[in-house]
Structure formats: structure tokens, C-alpha cells
């Protein structure tokens, strides 16, 4: 099939970017979206220009490195799928596709479609862990954990940290990402010990990074490639409230 691609090109965070149009022919429907981008880049390089920079690594939907907003949707039109797992059969001959970077103050553009998501790392560093040193652990079965709680903690922990929640939120809020980590650790006895301190410091860091507020719209969860639940946000809200009323 033949496609018209409108791609955001931007040299760096300081330079103004713009949409640039490309035409790509002979796109196979079995290609993944990123393979289509590879082919486009080969064409651009052979034409003497610089290829489009985009982040990608595992290409099996788990590392969270790929990003891109495709026709206004983070990771494109297919629900529960990362860009690398999106295949061209989701499009048809003659389609126009708009490809843009994740846009948020907290995710400055590095180049073209690449953005800097280190804000997420800093949020985890502010408290997204259990303070246990190597070697200090009791036996794995020392504390039984209800299967349901372990399963729910796992569901929250499947977050791949890609940032689609921020990209899809009308307010560029990072609440879903932050709450998933807080809820995961709060559901486990090992993590619960530090829950109140954790929620305070992680929220403070989240605010520091310039993400927006939560309007409880739910776009984050609907666009999340792993379907992280909004209930995590409610849990974080409750924890923060409790920790504000009774800090210890």
C-alpha cells in the first residue's frame, strides 16, 4: 500500500519543529509500524537526508521505549498495543498518517519523535522502592500474601513506564504512572511499611516535574498499552489524604 506520512521533525529541544510530509510506497500489511519507519528511514538516507529519530528497543511491547502519537493517539489506533506491536494492517492504502512525539512539559523533545522521559526515573528515585538492602531479606514465604492482593499488585506492576498516560491526558498528568507504583507497593506487606512517606515524596516529585493535574477523565487508562486501572489513582488519592491527615 501507499501512504502519506506527516512526521514531526525537530532538531532539538531548543529548535522549533514542524510537520514534514513523506510518501512511502510498497508498504506491506505484515510490517510492524516501526518496520515501516525503518523502511522510510532507509529511503530518507538513500535520498541523502538525515533519518527520523525515534526511540525503540525490544520491539515486543515490554520495554516501554517506543513512543509516538499516531493520528492523535499514543501508540496508535489499536487498544492495548505499543507502537512496536502495531501492524500496518491497521491502516489501508492511501491513508494519511500523522506521527508526532509524546507532548508534555515533563517530556522535552530530544529530537524528532524522541522525548526525554527521565522525569519518570526521578519520580521512582524519590520513593518508588522498598528500603531493603541486599542480603537483608527474610525467607520468601515468611509473610503470606493473599493471592488476590498479589495479583492486583502484579496488575499495577505491569506498567512499562512508556508515558502514554501522560501523552494521552488532556492535562499531561502522570498520575496513572505514579499511582501504579504506589498501589503496587501499598498492596504488599513489604511495601506498605513505607506507604505514607512514599506517596508524599513521589507526589512532590511528580509536581516538581511539571506534569498536570488529574481530571479523572480516564484517557490514560484507555490508552495505556497495559491497561493499568484508574483504581490505582483512587488508591493513591486516598493514601495521600490519609498521609496528610496523619503523617505517620
Amino acid at each position: 500500500m501507499k501512504l502519506t506520512l506527516h512526521v514531526w521533525r525537530q532538531k532539538d529541544a531548543q529548535t522549533q519543529g514542524k510537520m514534514v510530509d513523506y510518501t512511502l510506497d510498497n508498504v506491506s500489511e505484515d510490517m510492524s509500524f516501526l518496520e515501516m519507519m525503518d523502511v522510510l528511514n532507509q529511503q530518507i538516507i538513500e535520498g541523502g537526508d538525515e533519518p527520523i529519530a525515534f526511540d525503540h528497543d525490544c520491539r515486543e511491547g515490554i520495554c516501554g521505549m517506543c513512543s509516538m502519537v499516531i493520528n492523535g493517539q499514543p501508540h496508535g489506533p489499536q487498544q492495548g498495543t505499543t507502537t512496536c506491536q502495531l501492524h500496518m494492517r491497521s491502516f489501508k492504502d492511501g491513508d494519511s498518517i500523522y506521527i508526532e512525539p509524546f507532548r508534555a512539559k515533563g517530556f522535552p523533545v530530544v529530537r524528532d519523535l524522541m522525548v526525554d522521559r527521565s522525569a519518570f526515573d526521578r519520580i521512582i528515585q524519590s520513593g518508588g522502592f522498598v528500603s531493603v538492602g541486599t542480603g537483608a531479606a527474610p525467607d520468601g514465604n515468611a509473610i503470606p500474601i493473599r493471592k488476590e492482593e498479589a495479583d492486583e499488585a502484579f496488575n499495577a506492576a505491569t506498567c512499562i513506564g512508556c508515558g502514554a498516560c501522560v501523552a494521552s491526558c488532556k492535562n499531561a498528568s502522570a498520575m496513572l504512572f505514579v499511582s501504579a507504583k504506589i498501589a503496587q507497593l501499598d498492596r504488599l506487606p513489604q511495601g506498605k511499611v513505607e506507604s505514607k512517606e512514599r506517596v508524599r515524596s513521589m507526589v512532590a516529585q511528580m509536581d516538581e516535574e511539571g506534569f498536570g493535574n488529574c481530571t479523572n477523565t480516564g484517557a490514560c487508562s484507555a490508552e495505556c498499552p497495559k491497561g493499568i486501572s484508574l483504581e490505582n489513582i483512587a488508591r493513591m488519592n486516598r493514601l495521600y489524604l490519609q498521609s496528610s491527615v496523619s503523617p505517620t
Partner: protein, 241 residues
């Protein structure tokens, strides 16, 4: 004062919103009394029905309501409104460059995206509503000492009349344009409430597990019933009283 966290701002929105919801329920209840009065007077042929007048008189003259609850209500409303603008400004700053194609993310419901619009309409409506009832009432009670009904002259006697509220209400509701504005505003209020009600439970962390679905249903029910009742009040007085 320490800077408020994003979550604290949302709590303020949620709690002030819940407070306004309580007020709205109370307001609706008293208004419905006027419908009862109207039906008794005009349909069932009662000689006299002063349920609404009595309630309105109580609200207007009880010192606790007037000097404790009323200022709290005004403050709650102002906080809710000012915080809405603060949040909007912060949210806009969180994405300085928008999407060229537009944001087409799923799960956007119109109400949640446009709380500022629906809220703005409610503010505009309140302007009219204040002009109709609250300002004349406050002026009469605390400035001139004289009240009037309809287009009649203002006198001290009317102000002293316990039963002056119902006729004034009926008078205001005889204009089609006003009834239309009232009804339209209530529809948008419904949209505002539909998102706001459930949202406040999400923001305060109540909305979890088995409660989620119930809260959503309650929210929709509230957002339909309350504005509908207000519309009923306006229409009853327009058509029947």
C-alpha cells in the same frame, strides 16, 4: 504557607464540590415545595398552601443560615471556582505545545473535558439567578428595608409578609426567555454534576473495588434527577401557576 500539592488542589475541588452538591440538594428540596404548593392551589383547588413560603422565610431569616451558612456557601463556591481556574492554568502549562492532529485519545467524555465550560455556564446562570432573587432579597432585607412582588411598588409591609416568596417566584417564571435560560443551564449543570459527582469520589479515593460501579450509577442518577427537578419547578410555574 507551603505550596499546595496537585493532589491537595484536587481535594479542595472535590470537597468544595461535594459541599455544593449538598447545598444543591437542599435548594432543590425547598424548590419542590413550591411545586407542591402550586399543584395544591391550581390543580386540587386548595385555599391556601404556604409550604414554600415557610421554608423560604426560615432560610431568609434564621440567623444561623444567614450569618453562618450563607458566608460558608459563598466561600465554598468561590474556592471551587477560583481553584478551577488555577488548575486550568496549571494544566495548560503542562502541555505548552499541543498535538498538530489534535488529541484523539479514547475515553474522553465530553463532560470531563469541558468542566470549565459547563461550570462557566453555571456561573453565568448564577448571575441571572442572583439578579432575579438573591440581590433583591439582600437589598430589601439589609439596605432599603422594603420589598416588592413582581412589578409592584416596594413597601415595608411586603418585606414583613411571610408569604411574599411564592408570588415573587411565580412572577419571575412567567417570562419564556427566562424559563428557557433556566432549563438550558440546568442541562449543562447536569453534565457538570455527572462528572463532578463521581470525580469527587475518585479524587478522595473512595471510588475503589466494589464501590466504583455504584458511585458511577449514583452520579448519573443524581446528575439527571437534580437538574430535572429544577426544570420541573420552572416549567410548573410557567405553565400551571
Amino acid at each position: 504557607m507551603a505550596k499546595l500539592s496537585s493532589l491537595s488542589r484536587k481535594y479542595i475541588m472535590a470537597f468544595s464540590g461535594l459541599f455544593l452538591i449538598l447545598f444543591l440538594t437542599q435548594h432543590m428540596t425547598i424548590n419542590l415545595l413550591s411545586v407542591v404548593d402550586s399543584l395544591r392551589l391550581n390543580v386540587f383547588g386548595a385555599e391556601e398552601s404556604n409550604l414554600f413560603n415557610q421554608a423560604a422565610y426560615f432560610m431568609g431569616n434564621n440567623p444561623v443560615v444567614q450569618f453562618a451558612l450563607q458566608p460558608v456557601l459563598i466561600a465554598g463556591f468561590m474556592i471551587h471556582m477560583v481553584m478551577a481556574f488555577v488548575l486550568q492554568a496549571k494544566n495548560a502549562a503542562a502541555r505548552p505545545d499541543g498535538y498538530q492532529y489534535g488529541n484523539k485519545a479514547r475515553a474522553y467524555n465530553w463532560a470531563s473535558m469541558n468542566m470549565l465550560i459547563t461550570g462557566g455556564v453555571v456561573i453565568g446562570f448564577l448571575g441571572l439567578h442572583f439578579y432575579d432573587f438573591w440581590i433583591p432579597e439582600i437589598t430589601a432585607k439589609y439596605v432599603t428595608g422594603k420589598a416588592h412582588i413582581g412589578d409592584g411598588p416596594a413597601t415595608e409591609a411586603i418585606l414583613a409578609d411571610v408569604n411574599r416568596f411564592y408570588p415573587e417566584l411565580v412572577h419571575r417564571m412567567k417570562y419564556p426567555w427566562r424559563v428557557a435560560i433556566y432549563c438550558g443551564s440546568f442541562v449543562l449543570l447536569g453534565l457538570h454534576l455527572n462528572h463532578g459527582f463521581q470525580s469527587s469520589f475518585q479524587t478522595t479515593g473512595v471510588s475503589q473495588g466494589k464501590y466504583v460501579e455504584g458511585i458511577k450509577k449514583a452520579s448519573t442518577a443524581f446528575a439527571v434527577i437534580v437538574p430535572l427537578m429544577f426544570i420541573v419547578v420552572a416549567l410548573v410555574h410557567f405553565f400551571i401557576s
